[in-house]
Amino acid sequence: MTSHLQGAASPGQPRRLSTEQRESDHSWSSYVYAIGRAGTDLDAIAPRLTGLRDGRVRTVAADGLAALVSSVPAGAFSAEGMKAQLENLTELEQIARTHHTVVEAAHTGATVLPMRLATVYLDDARVRAMLRERGAEFDALLSRLEGHAELGVKVYADPRAAAADPPPAAEGPDRAAPPVSPGRAYLQQRRAQRQTQRDAYRAAGALADEVRGRATGLARDRVTHRPQQGELAAGAGENIANEAYLVPVDRLREFHRALAGLADGLPGVRIEVTGPWAPYSFATPPAESRSA
């Protein structure tokens, strides 16, 4: 079931069903990417977007709200089907990037609430029912996020970079010292390594505090993510602080300026600012969210 749908969609001639065909067919489910207000630019943006499995993105509206939706094969997006897909990193990446691309495109032109990955309804009628049921909550969130974007800020400690670029006047004696035994030389080297490491971590910790202080002053809200340390963590060095800030769009420039150059002159310490993102990290309902 899954495979023949996939197979039909992949080669030269993509299988593109009309919206009507997909909607009325029970072998299709409705995948929700984001929710915004009805009657905004979302209606204009949606038809230009391609969703999962090449599905056209459309808006499904109820009670003044609109969900960005595309039809997905019901089998592949059943609980079992999705589990199988998400266990595969290649498929997970494809789904995540597609989901993200649709959310980002919507975010460029309208205020949206990004949905968690894999929010799937049996059909559009069920999406409308959900919009009616949670309308007040979504409305409040949309008002809160209007005119804001999310910026990610990560601070890295990279002792190896620090070792490659030692601060002046450090470790001077080693050069001038008379030849030493292998054991002694090894211990001296270990000691220098540990010193460099400790300095890099301490500098990164202090920098993270300063970044937090400056960024918080320009942001409406802040969320702390866990440091990225798994196999996908791409940055050189160790991520020691990973935070997201909800920043008014007219302050994004100022935010970048406030953090620019903070890591200059600190060997082995690096700041990475990502975004602007759709406000993923701030889209949780106020009841569950952090107090401002």
Binding site: I35, E87, P114
Partner: protein, 143 residues
């Protein structure tokens, strides 16, 4: 909205920040958001079951456990006995840093033991006949 968000983005975001994000943003950054953030609403498909799976994937792929974070966290050196004051070159002792020597036994002895073990491994790797235990200068170095 007359002026789009894209037109008001910061300088480092470039002319087309969203296109860039969508196509080439770091996968870890994307997964962090789409798996862990965003509005959680109950879909018709059993999302609660999926949550468990997502969590598993998330932990495996990109986020360390709390224990791992503690182990590798920002203050690990505070509790590392091998980084006591005597192990540091004197001119680089940062002022005001509390020296932790509350680990009971002599931290230098512990470090000495670790270093001897590493030394032995290194020597074995390069084929040196001397064993670390028989080398007196290592001990002198630490005292």
């Amino acid at each position: 909205m007359s002026d789009s968000l894209a037109a008001r983005m910061g300088p480092s975001a470039g002319p087309s920040p969203y296109g860039r994000q969508g196509s080439s943003a770091n996968l870890a950054d994307i997964l962090e958001r789409v798996l862990d953030k965003g509005v959680v609403i109950a879909g018709d498909i059993q999302i609660n079951l999926l949550d468990i799976e997502l969590l598993t994937i998330k932990l495996r792929l990109l986020v360390a456990s709390v224990d791992k974070a503690k182990e590798m966290g920002i203050d690990w050196w505070e509790h590392d006995p091998s980084l006591s004051s005597r192990a540091r070159p004197p001119q680089q002792v940062p002022t005001g840093h509390p020296v932790k020597t509350d680990r009971g036994s002599d931290p230098l002895a512990e470090e000495n033991r670790q270093l001897r073990a590493e030394l032995a491994e290194l020597r074995a790797a390069i084929g040196s006949p001397r064993s670390a235990d028989g080398h007196p200068t290592d001990h002198e170095e630490e005292q």
